[in-house]
């Protein structure tokens, strides 16, 4: 299992703040994560402005993601203004 946390409007699209996903393999890469999330969320998180944190650390390039069971992935849309 990995835990995926959805921030901001991504939580609306996901219908939840966080969800657990069973891993098809020992590890999962960016394309594997998109497949797990399904087409609507995948489309939303592909946006360049959406950042990814793995276990609390921002990845410089989310497409370089490699996650394993027990990891927490956070998907972070741009922070709000105002």
């Amino acid at each position: 299992m990995i835990r995926v946390v959805f921030l901001g409007k991504l939580a609306d699209i996901a219908g939840t703040d966080a969800d657990g996903f069973a891993l098809p393999d020992d590890e999962i890469n960016w394309d594997g994560l998109l497949a797990l999330l399904g087409p609507q969320l995948a489309e939303a998180v592909r946006a360049e402005t959406v950042k990814l944190a793995l276990n609390g650390t921002l990845l410089p390039d989310k497409a370089a993601l490699i996650a394993r069971a027990g990891d927490e992935i956070a998907l972070l849309p741009p922070v709000s203004g105002g």
Binding site: V5, A74, S80
Partner: protein, 150 residues
């Protein structure tokens, strides 16, 4: 070494109860500049919800405190931010800087406020008559940060 007090609060707070002790901790300090932001009212907003991601939000605030303390000659820096559900009129943020010289205190508050939203990973949504709406980034926020050359 500047005294530092960085906090995320989940419940309403009274800025005066923070500023008093902060000022008392540095008697004869020169100056204290404080900014308190409140949830605005009168624009049809019934409530505001701030969400954060704990592993990034608090470290982001501490990193910003590091930068403000490195950039300005401070005796103390207080940075307090609400998260969760708030009503119009409730304080949402309080930043206070104490320094021997006025310009450092005012500059540190200005700098910190300009960078706080981007440094600290907050997502806001507003409740209006027709439901909840996420607040998008504003171009002005970027322009405000550009003033500092980074």
């Amino acid at each position: 070494m500047a005294m530092r007090d960085v906090r995320l609060l989940t419940e309403p707070f009274n800025p005066g109860t923070l500023i008093g002790p902060f000022t008392q901790a540095n008697p004869g300090l020169g100056g204290v500049c404080t900014f308190v932001g409140e949830v605005r009212s009168g624009e049809g907003v019934e409530a505001l919800e701030l969400s954060h991601y704990e592993p990034l939000t608090l470290p982001g605030m501490h990193a910003l405190a590091d930068r403000a303390i490195a950039r300005f000659d401070l005796m103390g820096l207080l940075m307090v931010h609400r998260v969760g559900m708030m009503r119009p009129g409730e304080p949402i943020v309080c930043v206070s800087a104490a320094s021997r010289h006025r310009r450092d205190a005012i500059g540190a508050v200005d700098f910190t406020m300009d960078h706080l939203k981007s440094a600290a990973w907050f997502w806001k949504r507003e409740k209006r008559a027709d439901g909840w709406h996420w607040i998008e980034p504003r171009p002005q926020d970027h322009a405000d940060r550009e003033r500092w050359g980074n």
